[in-house]
C-alpha cells in the first residue's frame, strides 16, 4: 500500500509537442466546435498569438507523450484496475498554443488514507513550462486507489 514515503517522489519529466492533427482528433472526439480552437483567425481575434488548446488538454499531452504513461502506477506498485480519478485541477498562467513544446514535471504532493484505509488518495502536482521557459500552468490530479 502507498504510504507517506511516496510524498515528494518525482517522476520522469515529460516533453510534449502540441501537434495540430492530434489536437483536431481530440476536438472531433469531444464534438468541440468553438472556432477559437480550430481557426487561427478566430484565435487571433480572441487575443491569442496562435491556436490555443482547450482547458483539459494539458492532461492529455502529458499522458500522450510520456515514455511510460503509467509510471506513477509502476513506481508506486499500484494495480491499474484499482485506480479511479478523484480530482483534477488546472491553474493557467500563460497561453498554450499549437506548435509549443511543453515540459511537465510531476511529483507526489500528498498521500491520504480514507475510509479506514479502504482508499488511498494520492495527489500529484505538476508544473508545466513551455519552450521559452515560461511557466504556463500548474496541474494537480488526485488518484484514488481502492485497496483490499
Amino acid at each position: 500500500m502507498v504510504d507517506q514515503s511516496a510524498v515528494g517522489h518525482r517522476f520522469a519529466p515529460v516533453t510534449a509537442r502540441v501537434e495540430p492533427g492530434r489536437l483536431r482528433y481530440f476536438l472531433d472526439t469531444l464534438g468541440e466546435q468553438n472556432p477559437v480552437y480550430r481557426d487561427a483567425g478566430a484565435a487571433r481575434a480572441a487575443g491569442f498569438a496562435g491556436t490555443p488548446v482547450p482547458p483539459t488538454y494539458l492532461f492529455c499531452l502529458e499522458m500522450m507523450d510520456a515514455e511510460n504513461p503509467f509510471e506513477m502506477l509502476t513506481a508506486l506498485d499500484i494495480d491499474l484496475a484499482r485506480v479511479l480519478h478523484g480530482e483534477q485541477s488546472f491553474a493557467y498562467h500563460a497561453p498554450v498554443l499549437v506548435g509549443d513544446t511543453l515540459t511537465f514535471r510531476p511529483h507526489v504532493a500528498s498521500v491520504t488514507e480514507k475510509k479506514g484505509g479502504a482508499l488511498t488518495l494520492i495527489a500529484i502536482d505538476c508544473e508545466v513550462t513551455n519552450q521559452n521557459g515560461v511557466h504556463v500552468a500548474d496541474t494537480s490530479r488526485t488518484v484514488v486507489v481502492r485497496n483490499g
Binding site: T29, L30, V36, F48, P54, P55, C60, M63, P69, L84
Partner: protein, 136 residues
C-alpha cells in the same frame, strides 16, 4: 458569448447538454486523450476489476464541462478550472453542464469571478462538481 462586465453573483453563465455517451466515444477518447486505461474500453478488463461494464473517463466528462465553460467564457479569460469526480459516468449518460457565479473579487490586478460548476446525467445524478475562475 456572454458580456463579462455586467456579471453578478447568481448568474447562470454556463449551460450545455451533450449527446449520450456511447462505446465508440470511449474508444475515440482513449486514443485522442492518450489515456489507454483498458477499464474504459475493454469490458472483460472492466468486469475483472469489479465493474458491470466499461465507463467514461473522468477527463472525458471534464472535457465536456470545459467545452461548456469556454462556450460561455472566452478561453483567454480562464484562470483556473477544477473538478471533483463524484460518481462514475455510465454508458448512455446524457450530460448537462452548468455553471453559476458565486463570487466577484480582485486578484493579481484584475477583476475575477468564481463559478460553481456541475455536470449531471439525465437522471439528475451529479457526476462532477467543480469551480472555475475567470477574468472579467
Amino acid at each position: 458569448m456572454t458580456a463579462t462586465n455586467d456579471i453578478k453573483v447568481g448568474d447562470r453563465l454556463v449551460h450545455k447538454t451533450f449527446p449520450p455517451i456511447n462505446r465508440h466515444k470511449l474508444a475515440l477518447y482513449c486514443g485522442a486523450s492518450g489515456d489507454h486505461n483498458p477499464i474504459h474500453v475493454d469490458i472483460d478488463f472492466a468486469k475483472a476489476a469489479g465493474f458491470p461494464d466499461v465507463f467514461a473517463h473522468g477527463m472525458l466528462v471534464m472535457g465536456c464541462l470545459g467545452q461548456a465553460l469556454t462556450d460561455a467564457v472566452p478561453p483567454a479569460k480562464l484562470r483556473a478550472f477544477a473538478t471533483r469526480f463524484v460518481a462514475i459516468t455510465q454508458l448512455g449518460a446524457k450530460l448537462t453542464c452548468e455553471g453559476t457565479v458565486t463570487e466577484l473579487f480582485s486578484e493579481n490586478g484584475e477583476r475575477r469571478a468564481k463559478l460553481a460548476l456541475t455536470t449531471r446525467d439525465d437522471r439528475g445524478e451529479v457526476k462532477l462538481e467543480g469551480s472555475a475562475v475567470v477574468a472579467l
